[in-house]
Amino acid sequence: MVTKQTLVVIGNGMVGQQFLASLVASGINKNYKIVTFCEEPRAAYDRVHLSEFFSGKTADDLSLVEPGFFEQNDITIHLGDKASKIHRHSKSVVSEKGVTIRYDKLVLATGSYPFVPPVPGHDRPQCLVYRTIEDLEAMTSAAKNSKVGAVVGGGLLGLEAAKALTDLGLQTHVVEFAPRLMAVQLDEAGGAMLRRKIENLGVTVHTGKNTSIITDGEQCANKMCFADGEELETDIILFSAGIRPRDDIARDCALEVGPRGGIVINNQCLTSDPDIYAIGECALWNGMIYGLVAPGYAMARTVVADLAGNVASFTGADMSTKLKLMGVDVASIGDAHAKTQGALVYTYQNGASEVYKRLVVSQDKKQLLGAVLVGEASGYGTLLQYCLNGIELPENPDALILPARSDESVGLGPDALPMSAQICSCFDVTKGAVCQAIEAGCVTIGALKEETKASTGCGGCAPLLKSVMNSELAKHGFEVNTDICEHFPYTRQDLYNLIMVEEIRTFDTLLEKHGRGRGCEICKPAVGSILASYWNDYILKTEHLGLQDTNDTFLANMQKDGTYSIVPRITGGEVSPDMLIALGQVGKKYKLYTKITGGQRVDLFGARVDQLPHIWKELIDAGFESGHAYGKSLRTVKSCVGSTWCRYGIDDSVGLAVELENRYKGLRSPHKIKFAVSGCTRECAEAQGKDVGVIATETGWNLYVCGNGGMKPRHADLFATSLDKETLIKYIDRFLSFYVRTADRLQRTAVWMENMEGGLDYLKSVIIDDKLGLCEQLEQQMQHVIDTYHCEWKTTIEDESKLKRFRHFINSDQPDDNVVFVEERGQIRPADEEERRHFKMVEVA
């Protein structure tokens, strides 16, 4: 047997982990015993989305490691252990905790560290950096007793850090040495536009400032003194003045490093030692350090190929970027500064709407060399493809940035891209690979993501991926059928719009005008639900009754034996002893099985259909209302005990939960809707697992949306912070109305949002910024539902004609003889098949 060679990887950051994952995917991990050193206390996580830590993402959410990855692939990881020395002659690595490993091949993936300018006072308290989860934790805790924060550095990362400071509720400053923001990516006019936009958001920008010393402040913990004599008082100082490669360990063992740092590598990513590779931000290729993940991933792939004995080389990477900084779209492509000989420049500037665009083209106007977009970057994908693939420009290149002609008309259709065009740079997925996956049957974005990994990194390529998919599917004659069913050639959203615009009030009218056949169990309840959300009629009105799902027609949940369960509303989970006693009495009288539900209320099971009105009469007399447990509608608003009793409570979570539940009860929706309200961040009500979650903070309510438990649990996203109650309710009104209008049938809020182009940001722009100008309508729509609420059970028991149906037989008072109960743990339960046979025989005998 051949003994395996040992492969050691130093650093388990984004690139180190991607290297291991590619190695496993290629299968050649089996040839090696693999050991990796990870200095941080946790394995690799997504630094690119690090800022989402502030919007509620946890370290687990950010993890880049599939559960069980190391165990399943037999990779040893030394967590929290830094490799301290490389002995090249004995080919071994020694760690700080004293582990020594002999290697055959070594990969350095040590990344970089934030550069902190050596000004006096740079190491004072609350002077921080922004790179690891620990850094973010330090920021959060420093922010607790702070009012003002300043970021040193107005580059890409600095602005992201500034956003984090504003989110933490600090008065925020950005201090930049250069005369403009994002000097690397933007030209002067672009930088100026960005500055204006960011200042509008309440951040103070100081450019051309050189910090000379940091000392004690008077109002704040620190004071920054600038070379020009000005001063700035601030509690927190966050350095984001660039990164430096972590090359110490390479220097120590005399590997070649660049004059300004960085471990020198060749096209195979080999260092000056033929058994040592370096990849990611610690590596210096052709005099360049790449501070982005995509080039690091490309290096990782190169090393995997090299180890596998394939020909591969890293030949540089595109540094184009598109991001949203503090809500402002910014993109930079290729030669943004027009450094190429003979380059021509077109610019478009719109001061009113704060949009700036610049195109850099070759002398013959045939090739796109670079571009800058600020304020509006939807053309990024198209421009990038022109640039990367050398596609010939249209006759008037300025059409690409002028708003008069729509982007669509000059936009590069996906068909114009060659098969080799890279669609996703994070995972190097070409158009060819996407097409191949589509051929193999991946016909949804979800399936494509899973198969090709495209769009699972920074997400920037999602719109392009979608347009490639659609055009390929169309070419294959696939009609992407979104019809709700064979009776209506429309989506649920279309049907909603038809009902709204044409003021249609019944299923029959809709079917007559827009459908065919008689309908089915798909379209009927869907239309029933739309009619109910829009008009809020009594759902058992004769013309609506036949549309409802069984549970809705009997206003109760059918159980396996045909009996029903009864779930009265217990708003916010708050219930008085008298109400509990009343429930208990009803349960006892009708011999029902009783259980506390997962939704903080009580369920009574085993009621025959003929008993339902009697039971509900008693419950209504006792003060209960329908809990809509049977409907696609608002279910529960769970609460924790909150500030009234809890020693940690910050606000009255029960009070708010009760108010919200009363506000939205009865609302019919595409799927069920669940809420929760917690009184502090300990989150005992599990609000972050709900469609709508609210958490009290010192500065107001934080609103979370689009979470759920169930089959595919999803944490909710932080939607808005520090809200007063009025604003909170306004946002929820709009959010729910928009969901009701636009979601597919049986689509919960999470899937709805995830399938929405633009996702959470788009949703925010609709609900908070009123991008579609819909908010007033959405609020009115909700108000109508609220104003027309009535308890369906109360209406039903008051209407003799409706009660006729609550009998098992239309022509007899006999009950269903197939319903048989036995006892278990002191309560009833449905008899099983065997037991039922036995009991029936006894009865007959």
Partner: protein
């Protein structure tokens, strides 16, 4: 000869929906589509869910066949023949039914497929 049994009045039926009647010991699910003035009768027992619930299913049509969808696990049964669309080896009894002078009449001798 078909033996018709009076079951209830048309007014007792639920438009575009079902009710259950007890006919000589049989549980009969009766479905009523007033627009086409048709009634259908199937056995009320759902052989998949093992419960007497079919009268409480939603009705409609699938590719032209009139059907009821079981409220428990959503299998479809042809309202004329009782054949299950998802599993054609399963067929539940379908009964002859008619409306005479406002009265709903059922014959519990099982219908032939041909009718």
């Amino acid at each position: 000869m078909t033996q018709w049994i009076d079951v209830c009045s048309v007014d007792d039926l639920q438009p575009d929906s079902g009710v259950c009647a007890l006919v000589e010991g049989h549980q009969v699910a009766i479905f009523y589509m007033p627009r086409e003035s048709v009634v259908y009768a199937l056995d009320n027992y759902d052989p998949f869910g093992n419960a007497n619930v079919l009268s409480r299913g939603l009705i409609g049509d699938i590719k032209g066949q009139p059907v009821v969808a079981s409220p428990l696990y959503k299998q479809h049964f042809n309202l004329q023949t009782g054949v299950c669309l998802e599993d054609e080896t399963v067929k539940i009894p379908a009964y002859a039914i008619r409306i005479e002078n406002g009265s709903v009449q059922v014959s519990i001798t099982e219908q032939d497929d041909e009718i």
